[in-house]
Symmetry: C2
């Protein structure tokens, strides 16, 4: 018989990984809730009509499609089947796909429930998504996203609160060395205006976005090939290369954008967000004004965020921004908002790399009851019942085996205390209570153990 395997790019999460993942999920969830966000969950499957065309052509190819139930060939065009035109056949034999992100299902939900929703609507969503990508380090075919969005308001308070939430999550996770990079779509437009490239905005942004990866010279080369002249490039890189504090950057950008309405608007909104942080009694620590930040520009229209953990292999763990038109594609225009997302799997890898997980990150009972024989096992059930009645997670070794084996079980499950019961203990009611970390053993009554463990 063939040994069972997992589909490529997917993973099981056993007890110790689950404990670490729940630590991350709980930290993020409690911050979201503290800031007034409410949970939403949508189905794993969506109609392909909902998903297709939202992620570009490449995205469409990465959707996992579900075969129609029953005789799916009945509806399929015979000619396409014969000529092997699989792209056309797909539409005939599949009408559902797996969720590719949490934004499109959220937009669909808002449209379908717009009459019941209380706006501004602050929702968070923590669910897996699926992409038929080529698996590689840090890239999986099933992975979790944790999104929080506010729709139905233009208030920059939301942007400031996103910064505060990121800080609070990182504080909860114990991550100290990171940058919250911020830019504004209008600043990028200002940049394009300065070099008279408003017509070629997207070429400019796509090239700039690669600065980190390919370096200045290659970006310049790419832009030259796209028709940018040297004067323009000098202008652009003067701005991109400017070094200084945030205040200095703002001053510099304001001068540069003095003739660009877009540029001025972008700098002004970014400045307002910083002002709001002050009103929240929060500092600018970790916040970095990054004019070269140009991610997912297709639908962002205001502030853009990206969070990078320093000194780890895959540091980009969160991002987001403001959009003007979340639901237009579903026939409901004018729903604006701002949101961001944590990538749990990357956070997990970063926390492992930084050794930030608490060592005892196992979800286990606190006490194991071990026993020498059938009689002491029966006696142990009563003790066990008392521990649980006091809310103490605990268990009894179910079989009568050597004590050594029972202690090993406790060790492997990282159960910190073991109560060992033999005929002596049954008679006296005084129990042997063993601390598995120190190896120390005491003789205690049940009541003393209850107090000690609680």
């Amino acid at each position: 018989m063939e040994k069972p395997t997992l589909p490529k790019g997917t993973r099981d999460f056993g007890p110790s990984q689950m404990a670490k993942r729940q630590f991350i999920f709980n930290t993020i969830r409690s911050v979201f809730q503290k800031y007034g966000f409410q949970p939403l969950e949508t189905p794993a499957m969506e109609n392909l009509s909902t998903l297709t065309g939202k992620y570009g052509e490449e995205g469409d190819q990465l959707l996992f499609k579900i075969l129609n139930s029953g005789d799916f060939l009945k509806e399929a065009n015979k000619e396409n089947l014969q000529t092997g035109n699989w792209k056309l056949v797909t539409g005939d034999i599949s009408e559902k796909g797996l969720r590719y992100d949490l934004t499109v299902p959220f937009a669909r939900y808002v449209v379908m429930n717009r009459h019941e929703i209380t706006f501004p609507f602050k929702r968070y969503q923590i669910q897996p998504v699926w992409r038929a990508d080529r698996p590689q380090k840090g890239r999986y075919r099933e992975f979790y996203q944790c999104d929080a969005d506010v729709v139905g308001t233009d208030s920059l308070i939301c942007e400031a609160e996103i910064i505060l939430m990121i800080k609070e999550v990182f504080n909860g996770l114990g991550i100290t060395d990171y940058s919250i990079k911020i830019n504004h779509r209008a600043i990028l437009s200002g940049l394009a205006e300065i070099c008279q490239a408003s017509e070629k905005e997207s070429s400019l942004f796509v090239a700039i976005d690669k600065l980190d990866k390919i370096g200045e010279e290659k970006v310049k080369e790419e832009l030259r090939n796209r028709g940018f002249n040297d004067t323009s490039l000098t202008e652009v890189f003067d701005i991109l290369n400017f070094k200084g504090t945030t205040a200095e950057k703002i001053k510099f950008a304001s001068q540069k954008f003095s003739n660009s309405e877009a540029g001025k608007k972008g700098v002004s909104e970014f400045t307002q967000v910083l002002e709001l942080l002050k009103s929240f009694n929060a500092t600018e620590e970790h916040v970095e004004f990054d004019i070269a930040l140009a991610r997912g520009l297709s639908y962002y229209t205001g502030c853009i965020f990206e969070v990078k953990i320093n000194n780890v292999s895959i540091g980009s763990v969160s991002g987001g921004g403001r959009y003007d038109n979340l639901t237009g594609v579903f026939g409901l225009p004018g729903v604006s908002g701002v949101g961001f997302s944590f990538g749990v799997d990357r956070l997990y890898d970063a926390l492992e790399e930084l050794k930030l997980f608490p060592q005892e990150a196992q979800i286990s009972g606190k006490v194991l009851i071990a026993h020498f024989d059938a009689e002491s096992k029966t006696y142990g059930l009563n003790i066990l019942q008392q521990l649980r009645a006091h809310g103490i997670a605990s268990e009894i070794y179910p079989d009568t085996v050597k004590i050594q084996k029972q202690l090993e079980y406790a060790n492997k499950k990282m159960i910190p205390y073991v109560i060992v019961i033999g005929s002596e203990e049954v008679k006296s009611g005084v129990l042997a209570f063993k601390n598995m970390k120190t190896g120390e053993q005491q003789k205690l009554a049940v009541e003393e153990i209850l107090t000690l463990v609680k």
Copy 2:
């Protein structure tokens, strides 16, 4: 533009449903953990070779299959495509499917990780499963299961603990009127022996299983058609119809099974489970010995459980049993264990029907900060920051709109307290603190509000 819809049989869970569902999940999870079970999560997708053939032919038809990525037709047999032989084509164009239950993925996990797992292995798993069933009331195409299993021990303590966990979960949910029906596979075998039907065991069990639904006469008719004679039927229904306390039922069954090894074994194990309950200081309350219980017999080999909530439309919300050979189908024989499962969607419907959800089952902040103008809004950010620093979930209305609209927002989100800030409050630092339930309003300093809300 067409309005977006949800795939048939799937649902969104908005904020108020999520609050109720999290109440159920948290109750179940905390009981599982209190009893020493550890979490496991497996991927939504499994290889079809893992899933197929495990749920009978009907089950195979209900699997959601995922279309291979890229040119899936390349590998497909041309002849089958032309003749429309969709069953054969399926194997060519799809190699993955969605999880149909949590048991098969668990078995696969145990086999793949048998060298790392600490046995006895107590795992719980709370995840959605997918079935291409015809949707109807109480039956969805995506629904959650909450499973807990112990593998690697034959100890009947596990059975007793399943009863205790069910009681504790129901206690936590506030459900009081329910029965935990228990039977034993060997008792059913004993029943077959008594009427010399050991060769036709499964016909007998399938028919008995319908007693609740179609009644005694129809079951008898079905059995007569399958060759059972009247003497046998009288014997069987003598036992099935016996009324009495559990002790009386045990006594009666012991007499009836005095010549059946299987029957005696079944009664003895059931009796031992009751004895263990006593050692746990627990009563037999809610436990019902039901010889007619015969569910999912394909792999159960010991005790069988089914839990029914009384006086609701769909009362069967949990079930399980002991099995001898969980992983044999994946080439690893001899892994025995016992497990059970809660159906969250049915529990949800039952709790709604019984009106047992706490009225304020919304996950919201505790305080909304409302404001009259820009200045008081800015002032409010500082107050908000103080609330959150004390761990109080809270939010500020992000836009400057009429107070009435801000209060409505709090009402709809079920936020219990509102702090109203105007120029007066900014000057004095004494804030208007409104209880949204009673309508009562007080003038308080921030410190007083912090103490009051915490």
